[in-house]
Amino acid sequence: MSLFSRAALGLGLLFLYAPIAALVVYSFNASALVTVWGGFSLKWYGILFQDGPLLAAALISLRVALASALIATLLGTLAALALGRSGRFLGRLLFTGLVYAPMVMPEVVTGLSLLLLFVGLGLDRGVGTIVIAHATLATGFVAVVVLARLRVLDQSLEEAAADLGAGPFRVLATVTLPLLAPAIAAGFLLAFTLSLDDLVVASFVSGPGATTLPMRLYSQVRLGVNPEINAASTLIVALVTVIALSASWLMARHQYR
């Protein structure tokens, strides 16, 4: 690697990760002032774990992420199977577009339109509506990840299973799904992080008593940043990193020839 390439890479990484690094460093700051270093301390983590409302929000976030990721994984996998294994059907192109569209849709638009829908349906806004909204957001991502694997999955494996007397359901259960499992798991983790991260859509569709962690943090920041927020954010970064690495590890493993 040339000196220029190294420098460019270094600057790029600095640009991407310097803010996060600062956040992580200041979460261990003994001082109560965010921008003044007062020595190493874990006290903000201690305070964090005493903060009842924040912990409650974290719990809500985890529950929402789990539920919405499960729904998105189910729907996304079904969509991928329909797109990848049902041959050509009427409206296939349209369906493909419809599955992908929520991924590029501005979150404000998604949030607003979901809000209008929930109001129109007379649904009580709360944890349930956030789950539905996040599932909507993540289904397309799961579909894309699963479909990518399905496209490279040797179709003769499914034909061989059918040839050996397995009906369509048994082929799906014993051959297709097991071979897609890493991609499905990766899709689940992706959906989980998307939900965990989301502030915009959740803000639109949440109701009383349904405050997610990002919403809680955001409202606290408006009152002023304190190192406790840094600590909470650091933990979120750590969790998301672990999940993202697991997802890419799952995708890379069993790389199907």
Binding site: D154, E159, A160, A162, L164, A166, G167
Partner: protein, 360 residues
């Protein structure tokens, strides 16, 4: 195309007028083929000739545009793949990578109403039959190519199909293993009495293994017969060239000689050839003669030429003989005899039954 009646009793598999179109492309056109129980048939042809499509139609992975596929008195076309009593061995084996060898072989046995011990016994029997003892717990991707091929064969044979379809079963093996496996496959088929339909693009492989070879080209079945009849009496230049080296010479029918012998006028002289069909006087034809059926004689002969090249091949000598009009004939003779040298004049003779008259 008429199929020579090679069968004893009712055919097991009867394919009649089968066609398959993919959009505007005719992958298969009006193919008819009968298969007797216990017969070993090879579908031979270049890639894209429709042989794999034919196999996939029988297995049920494609639906025919027209035509019927009867197994005994049962119409297969109405059945989905998993209800057809035929099994297929796939070109790249399609072994389930997430299952052990034993579970791969047992896959087809589950759902047949067999008990656990019956399944285990059958798997053990197949492992023994294909010399795979001790491999039961191994994952497919830890096996060699030859072992994978045998696992695929065991899995396809597990349900005791009446007809086994094999798509290029030896295509992924290296050359030496391939020749060894040809013999094994043939012996296995004999032992089990299962009808085999093997797709191959290798004429030598087809000739080694098959009872009958069905030659396909451009979606059509162009000739069917045993190796000798295809080799000796090909129906076209394409088939003559597919089965081995051949001299193809342009000519015209000069009229009948004695009996079923026709005289053909070529650029370097008149050649007599045995033929079963009738040809019009003056009709343009090609004659095909195998290099080993060209007889070289020293001294005066009706047809004369000159040796222009000699290649030593161990057991055989290969000559290139340039005839009076510049036509080059390839001749292959046993190398034990007297060797001719480039520049030597030579007489050329053909036995009438060694020559096939072909459409131009």
């Amino acid at each position: 195309m008429t199929v020579p009646d090679h069968t004893e009793g009712e055919p097991l598999l009867r394919i009649a007028g089968l066609s398959k179109r993919f959009g505007a492309f005719a992958a298969l056109s009006d193919v008819s083929l009968d298969l007797t129980a216990g017969e070993f048939v090879c579908l031979l042809g270049p890639s894209g000739c429709g042989k794999s499509t034919l196999l996939r139609l029988v297995a049920g992975f494609e639906t025919p545009t027209s035509g019927t596929i009867m197994l005994g008195s049962e119409d297969l076309a109405a059945l989905p793949p998993h209800r057809r009593p035929v099994n297929m061995m796939f070109q790249f084996y399609a072994l389930f990578p997430h299952m052990s060898v034993g579970r791969n072989i047992a896959y087809g046995l589950k759902g047949m109403g067999m008990g656990r011990t019956a399944v285990a016994d059958r798997v053990a029997e197949l492992l023994r039959l294909l010399r795979l003892d001790g491999f039961e717990g191994r994952a497919p991707d830890t096996l060699s190519g030859g072992q994978r091929q045998r696992v695929a064969l065991a899995r396809a044979l597990a349900r005791e199909p009446k007809v086994l379809l094999l798509d290029e079963p030896l295509g992924a093996l290296d050359r030496s293993l391939r020749e060894e496996t040809q013999g094994e496959l043939r012996a296995l088929q004999r032992r089990l009495g299962t009808s085999f339909v093997v797709v191959t693009h290798d004429a030598g492989e087809a000739m080694t293994m098959a009872d009958r070879i069905a030659v396909m080209n451009q979606g059509r079945l162009v000739q069917i017969g045993d190796a000798a009849s295809l080799y000796e009496r090909p129906a076209s230049r394409f088939i003559a060239g597919l089965l081995g080296d051949v001299n193809l010479i342009e000519g015209r029918i000069a009229g009948p000689a004695a009996g079923a012998i026709q005289a053909v006028e070529t650029g370097f002289g008149r050649i007599e050839a045995a033929t079963e069909r009738s040809w019009g006087l003056g009709e343009a034809v090609a004659i095909g003669i195998r290099p080993e059926r060209v007889t070289l004689v020293a001294g005066a002969a009706a047809l004369e030429g000159r040796i222009t090249e000699r290649t030593y091949l161990g057991d055989r000598l290969r000559y290139r003989v340039t005839m009076a009009d510049g036509t080059i004939l390839r001749a292959s003779v046993l190398s034990s005899g007297h060797a001719l040298s480039p520049g030597d004049p030579v007489g050329v003779a053909f036995a009438p039954d060694a020559i096939a008259i072909l459409p131009p």
